[in-house]
Structures are given as structure tokens and as C-alpha cells.
């Protein structure tokens, strides 16, 4: 390989091609997110199939026409169970991300707007909590409060608001020196009014982006807890519980009860990351668009 072909042209053609791949990626991601949301919203009410229907005569069937993902050890259709599992995982993920975003925005905005020792103190606390590994803290909280839906949501929310708080604080700090804030202050606006009317709306797009990106994280966290037997109760078949449930079949040699629930975690994660990457490129075009996870 000569150096000419290796250096400049590669970078240049990369730049040209990037635009088209970005568009393709955006469309694929949007389509996947749409399919996921539609499946989660529409399949349960429309399809008159009970995901709990036990049919021991057709247990552990490999993927085929009647059951595209096969059946589990009780003869339940895995595709249907995965859709229901995604529904539960997504619900928990969205709830946790919402709680975390509200906490993070409130803390970050307060720290950034007040500044001084409040800011220093709050950010030290954030640093301290951040030095406990997320999953470990989550496991500790769930262990103390016993597994259940709310402990899981709280455990995920309490470990995920830190990054939002940092992002919002940094944004508020950079906004504070803008002329329109000065204008509002010299116009006699109170601290509270400046924060709520001028700072918060400017910060929201970034907080919303962080919230969207947090949903896959929260799903991941929930499924890890559920997999360890510390998450949702087993009758709530979330994706993590499905993977855990497929474990015994896997050890007997049947791979499909484990494989498909995992794919149901990966695909939405990648799709959301692709969408969020495109969105970030729109609100912050200087930064190069990379998939964000």
C-alpha cells in the first residue's frame, strides 16, 4: 500500500460517504424504534393470544413457522413473551429514566444557577456517589428493599441521575454568562424567574437527549438485576427474567429461549443510540456524529 492511498483520500472519501451513511443509519434507527414502539403498544391489545398459555405438548420447539422464536420449557410462544417482556422492560426503563432526569435536572440546575459553595458541595456529593459502581449500588438498594417494581425503578433512577446533573450543570454554567441572562437580571428578574423562565428551557433539549439515552441504560440495568434474581418478580416476565428463565433450557442444549430475549435488548438499544446520535448532530452540529451508548 502506498502512502497516498492510505492517508488523504481515505479521509476525504470517508467524509463524503459519511453523509449518506448517517442518513441510512437515521432511517434504520427510526424504523426500528417505530417497530419496537408499535409492537409494544399494539400487539398486546390486538393479538388475542395469551403469552401465558401453557402447552406442554409443544414445549421447547425450535424456531419454526408456527413459533418464529420457538417455545419455552412450558410451551409458551417466545416471540409473544419477548414482546411482553420488552413492554415491561421498556416501561420500567422509561419510568426510571424520567425519575432520574427530573432529579438530575433539578440538582444540576440548582448547582449551576446558585454557584459558589452550594455548587461545590453538590458536585462533590455527585462525585462521591459516582465512585460507587452503578450496578453494585443498585444491587445494594434492591437487596435492602426487597425485589419489586418500585425498588428496581428507584434503584435505577438513583444510580443514573448523576450524569444528567453534570450535563445540566455544565450547560447552565455556560449559559449564565450569556447576554440575555444579563439582560433579564438587569431587568429585575428574580433568581427563581431567571432559572425557570430563561435557563431551564435552554437546558431542556440536552436533558431530554440524556433522558432518551438513559432508557436503554435503564433497561440494561433492570435486566441485569432481574437476571441476578434481584429485580422484578418472576411473574413479571421482563427481558432479564426471560434470559434467566431460559438458562435452564440453555444448559440442556436449547439456545433459543436465551438468544431471543437478549436480541430484544440489543436491537432497541442500538436503534435508540442511532436516533440520539442523529439528534445530537442536529442540536450540536460541530461534534462529529457517533453512535452514543
Amino acid at each position: 500500500m502506498t502512502c497516498e492511498s492510505a492517508a488523504e483520500p481515505a479521509w476525504r472519501s470517508y467524509g463524503v460517504r459519511r453523509r449518506s451513511t448517517t442518513a441510512v443509519r437515521l432511517r434504520v434507527s427510526a424504523a426500528l424504534v417505530a417497530v419496537t414502539v408499535l409492537a409494544v403498544l399494539l400487539v398486546p391489545p390486538l393479538v388475542r393470544l395469551d403469552q401465558q398459555t401453557v402447552d406442554l405438548g409443544s414445549k421447547l420447539l425450535p424456531p419454526g413457522w408456527a413459533h418464529p422464536f420457538g417455545t419455552d420449557d412450558l410451551g409458551r410462544d417466545l416471540l409473544l413473551r419477548c414482546v411482553y417482556g420488552l413492554r415491561i422492560s421498556l416501561l420500567v426503563g422509561v419510568a426510571a429514566a424520567l425519575v432520574a432526569t427530573v432529579i438530575g435536572t433539578a440538582v444540576g440546575a440548582t448547582a449551576g444557577a446558585l454557584g459558589g459553595w452550594v455548587d461545590q458541595g453538590v458536585m462533590r456529593v455527585v462525585d462521591t456517589i459516582a465512585s460507587v459502581p452503578h450496578l453494585l449500588l443498585g444491587i445494594f438498594i434492591v437487596a435492602m428493599f426487597r425485589p419489586g417494581v418500585w425498588p428496581v425503578v428507584v434503584s435505577v433512577a438513583l444510580t443514573h441521575w448523576l450524569s444528567t446533573a453534570r450535563i445540566v450543570r455544565a450547560e447552565v454554567l455556560s449559559l449564565r454568562s450569556r447576554p440575555y441572562i444579563d439582560a433579564a437580571v438587569s431587568g429585575g428578574a428574580s433568581r427563581w424567574r431567571v432559572a425557570v423562565r430563561h435557563l431551564l428551557p435552554a437546558v431542556l433539549p440536552r436533558a431530554a437527549l440524556a433522558a432518551v439515552l438513559m432508557v436503554p441504560h435503564a433497561m440494561w440495568h433492570e435486566s441485569a438485576l432481574s437476571f441476578l434474581g434481584l429485580g422484578l418478580p418472576t411473574h413479571m416476565a421482563s427481558l432479564g427474567n426471560l434470559v434467566q428463565g431460559g438458562r435452564s433450557s440453555l444448559l440442556a442444549g436449547q439456545w433459543w429461549p436465551t438468544l431471543f430475549p437478549g436480541l430484544f435488548i440489543i436491537v432497541p438499544t442500538l436503534a435508540v443510540a442511532g436516533l440520539a446520535g442523529a439528534w445530537r448532530e442536529r442540536i450540536d452540529p460541530r461534534r462529529r456524529s457517533e453512535l452514543m451508548l
Binding site: A7, A143, L250
Partner: protein, 330 residues
């Protein structure tokens, strides 16, 4: 290399170690506060099913003996002073002192994490360089897509699939544990064989970020003037890539390794559980399932300390490798 700035490094380390103290104090305090706010009752946990049959007087005495009637702040202080003396309490699920549990299991966790990190760094470097060599090429896209998919994949799921593929289908590797169940002694070859799968999975879970950082670092270095100059002088592509771009692109990434301890601990928690690896991460999960508070509190503190040490290591390496950074400023 020039003489290392030992004095400056020691000062930075000393300053950071002073900072560790309040962090660990707050974390342990928080752990006790969460436990106090939770419905968890140490007396019932201690008495087990016997609590149902015993009268209120006995339970009250037990409450007093365990010190549960005191506020959690004084219990925290009591635990802290005992912990400084090496007494971390008694683990109910392991039926031995917490300090002993940690002492026996820490070595296996360190072995697993260390091996996984080495594998991840080596593989990540190779993949990152291959991808960075021709950005936008088929190879680059393949590596990038693979890393993003791996990043999105749950570790425990990868671990289960690895067990299925390598232990059940082909039977080349053991599915879990430290040694074969029949074996009485812990021998080197046994441990090495059982180490392969957990190490591989943990390494794969750490691979994505490292590969992407190396790709970014080497890719940026390839676009810089020193590389262009080297190419203009007719230096071979191999030397340009490995001697110039990799050296300047990899060093900043290597310093990040210390700051990835939280992710490593998260991965270890899941991998050790799947493979029944007798490390402290698997013990954490067992302790959580049995609500073994003394063990959980100690392990949470230990993990936090590991994260802090990792961060310190990252800062020290960063200051060493980047001559523009002064230790005084950190």
C-alpha cells in the same frame, strides 16, 4: 525515559488519599442510612424462622444485643471503628467473618479481572489499529459495528451464549467453577482451563470502549503533521502506523484504563455469577440475595475504594505520559 517525578507523584497521591477519607466516610454512612430507611430488620435476619415462634421479650433482648435499638449513626460509627481494627463483622450467608470471605475471594477476582483487562487491551489495540488504518473501509465498518453491538449486548447474555457454544456444544471448555467438581485440589492447569471462558467474556465486555478509543486516537494521530512528515520522508507504512500513530494515539487511551474500574466491577458481578467463579463479585450477589448486610456493606466500601484507586492511577499515568500536564495542577 527521563527520571520519573517521584516527589510530584507522591504529593498528588497523598492529596488524593486525603480526599479518599471523606468519600469513603460518606459512602459507608450512606450505606447505613439506606439500610436504616429500608424495611430490612437485622433481628429477623439474625433469628431467621425462629423469630416467628419466640416471644417479644427474647426479640427485644436480641435487638439490644445486636445494637439495633441504637440510631443508625451510632451503629455506623461502631462498625467504622471496628472496621479500622480489621473486624468487618460476621457474614451470615458465608458463615464466616467478612474479612475472611474477602481475603479468600479477592485473589480469584483479581486474577479474573486482571486477565480480562490484559486480553481486552491487547485485542482492542489490534482491532482499533486495523479499523483506524483505513477509516470508512469495510474492515473499519465491520469493527465499529461489532463493537457497538457488543457494547449494547448484556454481559450475562454473552456469558450464557459462550457457555452454550464452548462448553455445551463443543465441550472444549468447562462451563463454570474454579476446578472440576471431582477434583479435590486447586491446581494450576485446572484453574487455567476454567479461567478461559470467564476471562474471554469479561474481556469482550470491556473491549468496545477500548477499541473505539484506540481507533479514534490512532485515526487522529494519522491525520497529524508528524505522520505526514514521516510519510513524506518515505518511512514505511508499517513504521508510520506502529511507530508514530500507535505510540501517540495509544498512550492517552492507556491512561484511561484506571478510570474503567466501575465498568469492570459491573462486568465481574455478572460474569462471576454466570460462571460460579468464587470471587468477591459473586459473593456480592449471594450476599444481596440473602440480605447479608455486613458482607454487602464491606464489599460496597471495597468496590468504592477500588474505583478511587483506579482514578488515582489514571491521573498518575496521565501526568506521566503527557508532559504538558503538571502534577501540581491536578
Amino acid at each position: 525515559m527521563n527520571r520519573l517525578p517521584w516527589a510530584a507523584m507522591a504529593r498528588l497521591a497523598g492529596r488524593r488519599l486525603l480526599f479518599f477519607v471523606p468519600v469513603l466516610l460518606i459512602v459507608t454512612f450512606g450505606v447505613f442510612a439506606i439500610a436504616a430507611a429500608s424495611p430490612f430488620d437485622p433481628v429477623k435476619a439474625y433469628a431467621g424462622t425462629a423469630a416467628f415462634g419466640s416471644d417479644a421479650r427474647t426479640l427485644e433482648r436480641l435487638r439490644e444485643n445486636l445494637g439495633v435499638d441504637q440510631p443508625f449513626t451510632s451503629r455506623w460509627w461502631h462498625w467504622l471503628t471496628a472496621a479500622l481494627g480489621g473486624d468487618l463483622g460476621q457474614s451470615s450467608v458465608m458463615r464466616q467473618p467478612v474479612a475472611q470471605v474477602i481475603g479468600e475471594r479477592l485473589v480469584w477476582s483479581s486474577l479474573l479481572c486482571g486477565a480480562a483487562f490484559v486480553v481486552a487491551v491487547l485485542t482492542g489495540t489490534v482491532l482499533g489499529v486495523l479499523a483506524a488504518r483505513r477509516p470508512g473501509s469495510a474492515l473499519d465498518r465491520a469493527v465499529t459495528s461489532l463493537t457497538y453491538s457488543l457494547e449494547a449486548a448484556p454481559v450475562f447474555w454473552l456469558a450464557l451464549l459462550a457457555v452454550w457454544l464452548f462448553a455445551l456444544r463443543s465441550g472444549v471448555l468447562p462451563a463454570g467453577g474454579l476446578t472440576d467438581t471431582a477434583s479435590e485440589q486447586v491446581t494450576f492447569s485446572q484453574v487455567a482451563g476454567h479461567l478461559v471462558l470467564p476471562t474471554g467474556v469479561l474481556a469482550v465486555s470491556q473491549l468496545p470502549w477500548f477499541t473505539l478509543y484506540v481507533r479514534q486516537g490512532v485515526g487522529d494521530a494519522l491525520a497529524e503533521d508528524p505522520v505526514r512528515g514521516a510519510r513524506a520522508r518515505g518511512v514505511s507504512e508499517r513504521t508510520v502506523l506502529l511507530g508514530h500513530a500507535l505510540r501517540s494515539g495509544l498512550l492517552p487511551v492507556l491512561t484511561l484504563v484506571g478510570s474503567r474500574v466501575p465498568e469492570l466491577i459491573t462486568g465481574a458481578l455478572l460474569v462471576e455469577s454466570v460462571f460460579s467463579w468464587p470471587g468477591i463479585a459473586a459473593a456480592t450477589v449471594e450476599a444481596a440475595a440473602a440480605v447479608d448486610f455486613p458482607l454487602l456493606a464491606a464489599l460496597t466500601t471495597l468496590a468504592t475504594a477500588a474505583v478511587l484507586v483506579g482514578n488515582l492511577l489514571a491521573d498518575l499515568l496521565y501526568g506521566l505520559f503527557d508532559p504538558r500536564v503538571e502534577f501540581r495542577d491536578m
